[in-house]
């Protein structure tokens, strides 16, 4: 939704609690426990599940309501899977090591980058029906490689269980005026992290 108008003023809450109700805390924790138990799942598929909510529901529902809808769907899937009883279960004494270990999408493989810092690139004008992390506002726009973050799993394929397709991710700077026209400040810029498959030579 980057660049859309009409979403209203930012509602700031002072001294905001981490969770606004116990059910939010439980949904957060359940989601992480389910991710641990669901060895066939991945974070990209999980994000895609949220994106597949009907747009009107997506805008109406609170953040953790969306998480709840996803957790319920995932639970139904696991409950229907007779092999799920063999899945690992997150125990209390495993939580801190799970958090500390994290789950990096970085892949330690040597792949020659197609672009170098300073190079001009164009974000491809692609409009896939499935999961993608190329924001609409950057499609077709000219930018410059600011830095190469290294090699990461490609969400567009992993979200659909079509493989990791590891590739370089770059921080690409788009001048604000390239994105938004003359209304934008000429000094300003937006840095977007983009996978190599999202980019072409300019």
């Amino acid at each position: 939704m980057g660049g859309m108008h009409g979403m209203g003023a930012i509602q700031y809450e002072h001294d905001e609690p981490v969770f606004h109700a116990r059910w939010e805390a439980r949904v957060y924790a359940l989601t992480r426990a389910l991710r641990f138990a669901d060895k066939n799942g991945n974070i990209d598929a999980s994000r895609h599940a949220i994106e597949q909510l009907p747009p009107a529901d997506y805008l109406r529902m609170s953040y953790y309501e969306k998480w709840l809808a996803r957790a319920e769907a995932q639970a139904r899937k696991l409950a229907a899977d007779s092999a799920a009883s063999k899945n690992p279960v997150l125990k209390a004494d495993m939580v801190s090591s799970m958090i500390a270990k994290g789950s990096s999408a970085r892949r330690d493989v040597s792949i020659k980058p197609a672009f170098a810092a300073g190079e001009r690139v164009r974000a491809r004008n692609i409009n896939p029906p499935g999961h993608t992390r190329l924001p609409r506002y950057a499609r077709g726009k000219l930018g410059r490689i600011a830095r190469d973050h290294g090699v990461f799993v490609f969400p567009d394929t992993r979200a659909h269980f079509q493989g990791d397709k590891p590739q370089h991710v770059y921080s690409v700077r788009f001048d604000a005026r390239e994105l938004w026209g003359s209304q934008a400040n000429p000094r300003d810029g937006v840095y977007v992290d983009l996978w190599e498959d999202y980019l072409e030579q300019a």
Binding site: Y28, A29, V169
Partner: protein, 198 residues
């Protein structure tokens, strides 16, 4: 319960209880692990971690150098890392450059140093406007970078998580690292506030 003619949405608390009961019964979830997860993000992981990173960078130029060149490794020196902070980049505010972090796609945020994101960060108004009108957003938060300042917006569209290293406030020269850490707010590390002396 009829699903076809449900006028009132089912109570969220009840739905969550039902979900948890089902998963515990199926042996897929251990409720004690949920308690530990919640306690971790309510009491242990939060913006106080990020504030310690910032204060260290302000008092230790060599650390600051490492922080800006390899954020993940430098942050790990203070013992922070893991989930949603596996690959960190730290961007420095200066008199010439103001950095602002957003995730227009959803809610990506550096959990190990800032904790879980506030509601406004995940909200449609912030996600939609921060890229097209960052100066308007900053004005709403009460800061107005001058015309000679470059505003850089970092859209967290991949797996890299961003932390803003705010400017050290003038007049803080005599403060200790601990005292400095107490000045650093969550908002200053997202880039929607400056650090001020009390």
């Amino acid at each position: 319960m009829s699903h076809e003619h449900q006028a009132v949405p089912p109570d969220l608390t009840l739905r969550v209880k039902a979900l948890e009961s089902l998963l515990v019964e199926k042996g897929l979830v251990d409720p004690a692990a949920l308690d530990v997860l919640i306690d971790t993000y309510e009491h242990k992981v939060g913006p106080r971690n990020g504030a310690r990173v910032v204060a260290r960078a302000w008092v230790d130029p060599a650390f600051k150098q490492r922080l800006l060149s390899n954020g993940t490794a430098a942050i790990a020196e203070l013992g922070y890392g893991g989930s949603q902070g596996e690959d960190m980049v730290v961007v420095e505010n200066t008199p010439q450059v103001h950095n602002l972090v957003v995730c227009t796609l959803c809610s990506c945020y550096p959990w190990p140093v800032l904790g879980l994101p506030p509601v406004w960060y995940k909200s449609a108004p912030y996600r939609s406007r921060s890229v097209i009108d960052p100066r308007g957003v900053l004005r709403e938060f009460g800061i107005e970078p001058g015309g000679d300042v470059e505003v850089r917006v970092w859209d967290s569209t991949a797996e890299v998580r961003y932390l803003v290293l705010p400017e050290r406030p003038a007049g803080s020269e005599k403060l200790s690292e601990d005292e400095l850490a107490r000045l650093v707010t969550r908002d200053s590390m997202i880039g929607v506030a400056k650090v001020k002396l009390p």
